[in-house]
Symmetry: C2
């Protein structure tokens, strides 16, 4: 079968690789129906070291179940399923607490050659009963796009909003106009934020942010962005910050714009070592929370809003490629000429 | 009148100073009935720079109201009152949200010569209606000691426990065997923690921690402490960490012992610049929260438990001095030969 591997920064290849097969009794194999390229895939695309083991890419998918192991009971061959970016047994201590990204037996797709990535024709799914979420079929393309976001970006935006304590009537800010940030706007509005301030610079993305519910746009950066958000909020700052980038500058901006007693939900994979611990974040009683989103746990809550059309996170996809087009898709997202690329193998 | 000033590291003096007087219509003046020395007073006691402006000391008190300004309506002359460590108007945006330590017109006692400190015969109280909490009199010495802790350490331990999301049936750890940490044990038990692990080394304080509800004691430091807490918790770490020290090493230990999805409530004034932002605190979805405790807001909740004897935080006081004894009190606390020193001017 054909699958995507990254060999080096900027070097993404579609290669022939042995077919995905069942390896453990709890495995399934899915044929990939939709996959996509994630903003987090751009980190290795920019900084992967030469000489590293080639990395199978892709961690978001909708698939059709082709085979199941003898210990898989909840998932059936032929099911259409959402594949969250982490696999999990669904029954351990942490899964029970709603945190499948910390599953004691789990892991992440798109890292380990033994598991594989979703930018491929097919994929082995460990712990299939805990991991996969069956959905009814068929759906039209727009609905499939929105369902695909439940494998990562919509659940991740929702996690940012929950961690940032978004509440009805309060003011939220979203840092980052990538797909996660835009889904963060949807999530903040959905949870009742009265105002949603989007910090970003890319005109078409900002237009989509407005469609999704952003009430204010701030396109400055650094100190100027902090001043602008303060000017918009009577000098106080915002109750909730959704930090959807992961850069040091984004975290510094988050701390700069959050108001006393407020919260920062961070979901951008951090490319910084430290969070400023004092004085402001301490003396203003700021809460900092977040991490890899337990998207598997959020599907129950978000799915009805998707299926009934109340939210349309699939609109973040602005480009579709087949497997051959994946390297060009990385280029386009890296150049920011594409917001988020869907892959139809 | 006589009052305590710090001139330099290690140099605490009792000095004659102009009597406390009403300066604004919203002021009161209180005669100090009980005050105390705080662990946070030991930071300047160890690192105050020579040549700094002398600092009036003390931010915890019970007092008797001697005078009120014409705009004070809720507090009466003769009232016995708890004076929280921060003054606040009780009516601004942040006071309304339960965060008087971020009051738009407030500040902290024991910093500003214009306000004064509580290790003194008397004290001007700005914004008396918002700041002071009247209590019924008379009370015996033990009750007065417990009431005094509502001005800071008991409310601060409670804040740590709330910020650390202490929940019934869960496991909490308290870092620091000072008065705040010991009050943190009371708070964690009061909020229903099934196990409370105290990290500390001082035998008499650990005995008090056990009396207050600590179920386990860890006296190792650094990596050894982290391993020991993990050994006590099936390798997982604790749900809630109450960080009651403020040193870098304490924060590092907190991050080391908190389990995935857990929370750290930090109330020790930070003497560190940064919090480790990645990978563990991010990938384990750790929440970091806390700051100066809004103790004024907590008195309503804690006072009945104090008055009805269900909690006895006043047991943290192991030494009492008059004003002349205050410098010796600082020395004793700094040498850790005293846990917390009460001042009866």
């Amino acid at each position: 079968m054909r699958a995507t591997f990254m060999h080096n920064a900027g070097d993404v290849r579609i290669e022939n690789t042995p077919d995905a097969t069942l390896q453990k009794p709890t495995d399934a194999v899915i044929r990939v129906v939709r996959a996509c390229i994630c903003g987090s895939d751009l980190w290795p695309y920019n900084d992967m070291q030469a000489g590293s083991t080639p990395r199978p890419m892709g961690h978001e998918a909708i698939g059709r179940v082709e085979a199941i192991g003898p210990d898989v009971h909840r998932i059936k061959v032929g099911d259409l399923v959402i594949m969250p970016f982490a696999y999990s047994d669904g029954s351990c201590l942490f899964c029970d607490e709603g945190l499948p990204t910390s599953c004691q037996h789990g892991g992440f797709f798109g890292h380990d050659p033994a598991v594989g990535g979703a930018q491929a024709e097919a994929l082995r799914i460990p712990l299939a009963d805990g991991t996969l979420y069956p959905i009814d079929a068929p759906h039209d393309d727009a609905m499939m796009a929105s369902l695909l976001t439940l494998s990562d970006v919509m659940g991740t935006g929702h996690h940012a909003a929950l961690c940032a304590h978004v509440r009805p009537g309060k003011v939220a800010a979203v840092i980052g106009d990538g797909a996660v940030g835009l889904c963060g706007v949807i999530a903040a509005k959905r949870l009742g934020a009265e105002r949603v301030i989007m910090l970003g610079r890319h005109p078409s993305r900002l237009a989509l942010a407005r469609d999704f519910g952003a009430t204010d746009i701030v396109s400055e950066r650094g100190e100027a962005a902090i001043e602008q958000v303060r000017a918009l909020t009577g000098g106080h700052g915002v109750h909730s910050v959704l930090e959807c980038v992961g850069a040091q500058s984004a975290m510094d901006t988050a701390i700069g714009i959050v108001r006393p007693g407020g919260a920062i939900g961070r979901v951008g994979v951090p490319h910084y070592e430290n969070i400023t611990g004092s004085p402001k974040s301490f003396f203003d009683n700021i809460t900092i929370s977040g991490g890899p989103a337990p998207v598997r746990s959020y599907i129950d809550d978000l799915l009805p809003d998707v299926l009934e059309g109340r939210i349309q996170p699939g609109r973040v996809f602005d480009h579709t490629v087949d497997l051959n087009g994946v390297p060009a898709g990385y280029r386009a997202m890296n150049e920011r000429s594409s917001l988020k690329v869907m892959v139809r193998p």
